[in-house]
Symmetry: none
Subunit: 363 residues, 2 copies
């Protein structure tokens, strides 16, 4: 069966994590998916893995997805535009401005090119790590504003929707600024923080908790990939790193004189600014200020939580976010519920009328 | 029944997250646990929550655990030493050198004081966040080298073992150096990184992935607590922050000239040093190792989540943790479920047989 929005053949060039994952997802929707890789070994692995079939004479793909390393992206996109004069070509590189500039410089037919970037990945690369659900619920940027046709953008949107991802339309410039902030700078900072651990004793590191693990997790990422990403987006990344350094200098000079007039207040303000920054993250549990939160006390059994949610459903109220605090040893569990502010009052009275105990919402 | 190593009464002063969690765990082992707090409201919440009983005339605790904010620790420890002349007193403050110095300056009887520090916590405080298993498998430093008796250290070790934590003996100085590296500096860096997000547009932040969430998670921590911790350990924290800044300066100047001779190699070496730092962390990085996690796609409509939980309940499987992640722009929510590893396989097949779609893209 074919339940995809995309019609016709899709050719994927580059059989790594992203290319193979796209192939797995498209084939699961019945799309005739061709996969190609300069490395015969990588190609056969991806085909064995179910990411698609090998290219054959007479292939006429309507859409080509280039999923090669960033510094090869423009070259391969230009080749594919030349080899398939009727195909629309996209790529999935993490930087969008540089490939576009390189394609222009190479005089490629960019009227058939629409760059894109799925915000998804794993620390492990290669087809072996591929999964059809890699993109589920993740944003996928489609770079617009370069004279591409509405129809072309629509085809890429269909691809993104077929992969259960969320299309986000941005110019290449807005994309590169955005990912510098939410992805490239965090990578650099996590890397430098992790580097400091080389000075630590085994005994010191034995005290490591989840906080340090989380803060440094992405520092385990592949250097070869990240050199390319950082170099391709360096001006924007450097701007934000300089702002970070200014704040760090301020923190150091303040903390160096903790007893000085106003020092504690200055530290408190910086810590609060960090709170505010985290609070801006979308869907971040317990932080999203678009929603009102309540904490309902629930007997610590699965049946009780199901009953609570069923009764919220009966009231026609939709949960925006929910978390169960299962606290072994306590007499109650806590269900923290986020709802749209306009329904909070109705939910409170509904729950209280049904005998639920509502604890004070988190600050 | 009483299956604890600790005998006699334990008095806990300070009914916040740590004090209430210690109380929950000791009571589950049958220890006569007295909880006290300067705030009647906090005290009654902790008692309602099961953390212990109120103090009574004739109480004769053999061990007192002071779990108050760092800047009150020395004062309260001195008071307790005075009020209970036969009791051994410990504290759980995140810094060990300063309270000891303050107790010496106050001429307290430190022969009955052994400082300690459980490496456990949560972004949220208060008894309402307490869990009896907060300390399971976590290191718990016992500060030695101040003329305390072997018997006293043994009593604190018994407390730590009763809470299923791991005793680690260190001097106060080694402790403070170690936590600066693995806890205090990561807090500052996460805070400054999160602060940079204030410059980001909503659209930019909509591209946020798990990497940024993890890297900034601890920046949501309580400023009032962290001012005290950072001020109390500032010289050591500042030393490491200066080393971080030197590396950041190097990164910025290199990335500012990415085409310069040797620039890419220098970036690669810094990224590799980050890899090496993460590799030094004990254990697997990632989520709570006590639980297996899976992500189930749930139609974002009233009642769907209730149906999922009801069906998990029907399967006789108990949730350890549950979170609904709202996916902006989609009608699908992602329910992140944590269960004991031994039931994961059964849960997956149960849910799939009932038609639920299981994603793991964020693992």
């Amino acid at each position: 069966m074919n339940d995809s929005r995309i019609s016709g053949q899709v050719r994927i060039v580059g059989a790594g994590l992203l290319g193979a994952s796209i192939g797995l997802a498209l084939r699961s929707k019945g799309v005739d998916t061709i996969v190609h890789d300069a490395s015969p070994g990588a190609l056969s692995l991806a085909i064995d893995y179910g990411a698609g079939r090998a290219a054959a004479a007479g292939d006429a793909p309507g859409l080509i997805v280039v999923a090669v390393p960033p510094d090869q992206t423009a070259t391969v996109v230009a080749q594919e535009l030349g080899s398939f004069p009727d195909a629309l070509v996209t790529d999935v590189a993490s930087v969008k401005g540089l490939p576009l500039a390189e394609l222009r410089a190479a005089d490629a037919d960019i009227s058939r090119y629409v760059g894109s970037h799925p915000l998804a990945g794993r620390e492990r690369g290669g087809a072996i790590s591929a999964r059809a659900d890699l993109f589920v619920g993740r944003p996928w940027v489609i770079a617009t504003g370069n004279g591409e046709s509405t129809r072309s953008v629509g085809v890429i949107e269909d691809l993104v929707l077929d992969l259960d991802a969320i299309p986000v339309l941005m110019t290449a410039e807005e994309h590169d600024r955005s990912v510098a902030l939410v992805s490239h700078v965090p990578q650099v900072i996590a890397t430098i923080l992790a580097k400091q651990l080389s000075a630590g004793s085994e005994r010191a590191l034995s005290l490591t908790g989840q906080g340090l693990r989380d803060t440094t997790r992405i520092a385990a990422s592949d250097p070869q990939l990240w050199i390319q990403i950082l170099a391709a987006n360096s001006p924007t990344v450097v701007d934000i790193l300089r702002s970070f350094r200014d704040d760090l200098d301020r923190f150091i000079s303040t903390l160096d004189q903790p007893a000085a007039q106003g020092a504690r207040r200055a530290i408190a303000e910086m810590l609060a600014a960090g709170n505010d920054g985290v609070a801006r993250l979308p869907g971040k549990h317990g932080q999203d200020r678009r929603f009102s939160r309540l904490v309902v006390m629930v007997d610590d059994t699965p049946g009780e939580l199901a009953r609570l949610l069923a009764e919220i459903g009966d009231a026609g109220i939709n949960l925006e976010d929910l978390r169960l605090e299962h606290s072994p040893g306590t007499l109650v569990g806590l269900a923290e519920i986020s709802v749209l502010p306009e329904v909070e009052a109705a939910l409170v009275s509904e729950l209280e009328s049904r005998g639920w105990r509502i604890a004070e919402a988190w600050k």
